[in-house]
Amino acid sequence: MRKPRLNIMVSYLILIFMGIFTLFPFLWTFMTSIKTEGQLFSIPPQLWPNPVTFGNYAAVLKDGSMMQFMYNTLFVTLVTTMLALLLAIPAAYGFSKFHYRFSGLLFAFVVSVRMVPPIILSIPYFLMISELGLLNTKTALIIAYLPLELTMMIWLMEGFFRQFPKELEEAADLDGLDTIGKLARIVVPISLPSISISTLFGFLISWNEFMLASTLTRTSVSQTMPIFIASSVTTFQIFWGKLTANGVLYMLPVILFTLFAQKGIVKGLTAGAIKE
């Protein structure tokens, strides 16, 4: 297929423009994190800090407490996401292809959890968790985040599974596979890109959550990175250097993970058609 040159140029322009829009806040965040207090607020802003200082990063890493917060976040997010995956994949599959009397209603319930303003949940969650004696524990966060991840993942994957070609399923039936086998051997592998993306979104829900974390946790035993980052904001001033340095460090695991897993995700995306 011939693709006219102009067409391609326009496409690239669009992509580049969007790329700049996407990238520049990150760049500026990084720039801010390597400036000294004095340089931070120069009017007009200094584009290139001079001298560059990694003091903010050094302070964070030397402090060491950040590691604990990072670990807490990783632990909570990974456990929650794994549990959610185990539950969401069959559920989404079930909702998409195996309807039963109340399945529509139940699906609506699952989906509607995402429609509740989260603020109103903070007090009841606090009460519930403290009744269970789980305040200030990572378990509390896992309990609180699980439904949040589930609602997103089930919702997304149900949509994707519904698009799954019937022919492939029927072929699997003919091969004598039962439902679980079909799910495990045919549906999941082929839907991997969609599942990966849903997992990524679910993961990010827990990774970035702030409100419930601040309500249910108190000390570094269970507190997560968003709280740690937010503590750079005091009543009288915001420590931008610290905030941005922590922000950058906080994104690194996810970015690295995505880079690492990108072969799976993007390969699936770019591979395109489901070849028979």
Partner: protein, 304 residues
């Protein structure tokens, strides 16, 4: 005889299909119920109690008065209008931009993978951090955006001083954060359209935009619908960004439903009203989602 047999067989098949459905979905449902039903019921319960009595533990039942107070309050109407306007504008823009970008990505030009990765970056920043970063970016004197604008001859633009620009700043920051979601989901959906279909269509003479409109778009409909409903629900519930960027100002111009609830609950200590407002909002989102669903997928029943 054969007919009845066939009928019975069909019935059995449907029966077992139903059972499989239940077995597959039950674990997730049970977990969700166990973790979320208590908070939801609590929120529902206190929406019918007087706020003062909630704090003292006396729990005085006041029927629907919390709901009526909320609906009658000016601040609520103001927040509602702001939120509705925001939802419409942001979702439409997200969809348009998302479609444009995902289609462009789908052309599989060189460097595609890098762009895809790049576009997914904003998702990895926590909303609360993004709020601070954008506030920092939009600062009038030491913000980088104004600095760059000054090269275009626009001096010291004030991003938070007027309702219009305050709303715009929230919109821009939000678009930055949420369009990646749309892009990725639509891109995944586009990738699932077999190349054969595109090829077949172009052989038939359809090309470019026509191809897009008649073949691709209808095939994308489910994905667009999915994204639409999720994004509507999310846009209605926007909170962190607004709270950090503008605090609801200036003059309550960017007060949205969630900042309203927050203030009612934690500043005014009117938990009963805050809860009633939450229930109202949830219902509104449900209704809006339902109708969006219906509109885009008429005639879609439950039965398979």
């Amino acid at each position: 005889m054969l007919q009845r047999e066939a009928g019975a067989k069909k019935y059995a098949k449907r029966q077992s299909k139903q059972q499989i459905g239940i077995a597959l979905t039950l674990p997730a449902i049970v977990v969700m119920l166990a973790t979320v039903v208590y908070p939801l019921i609590w929120a529902l319960k206190i929406s019918f109690l007087s706020s003062n009595s909630i704090l003292t533990g006396k729990n005085e039942f006041v029927g629907f008065s919390n709901y009526l107070n909320v609906l009658a309050s000016d601040e609520f109407s103001n927040a509602m209008v702001n939120t509705l306007a925001f939802v419409v504008v942001t979702v439409v823009m997200e969809l348009l931009i998302g479609l444009l970008i995902s289609v462009t990505l789908n052309r599989r030009l060189r460097g595609n993978k890098i762009f895809a990765m790049l576009f997914s970056l904003p998702l990895m920043m926590a909303p609360i951090v993004a709020g601070f970063i954008w506030r920092w970016l939009f600062a009038d004197q030491y913000g980088i955006i104004n600095y760059l604008l000054s090269f275009l001859g626009i001096e010291n633009h004030l991003w938070f001083a007027t309702p219009f620009w305050a709303k715009s700043s929230v919109l821009i920051a939000n678009l930055w954060q949420t369009t990646p979601f749309v892009i990725l989901v639509l891109y995944a959906a586009l990738s699932n359209i077999p190349d054969e279909i595109n090829e077949a269509a172009s052989i038939d003479g359809a090309g470019g935009f026509g191809l897009f409109r008649r073949i691709t778009l209808p095939l994308l409909k489910p994905a667009i619908l999915l994204v639409l409903v999720i994004r509507i629900a999310d846009a209605f519930r926007i909170y962190d960004l607004v709270y950090i960027l503008t605090g609801g100002g200036p003059g309550n111009a960017t007060n949205v439903l969630n900042t309203f609830i927050y203030r009612k609950s934690f500043s005014d200590f009117q938990f009963g009203q805050g809860s009633a407002a939450s229930i109202i909002i949830t219902l509104i989102i449900m209704v809006v989602s339902y109708f969006s669903f219906r509109l885009m997928r008429p005639g879609r029943g439950n039965a398979e």
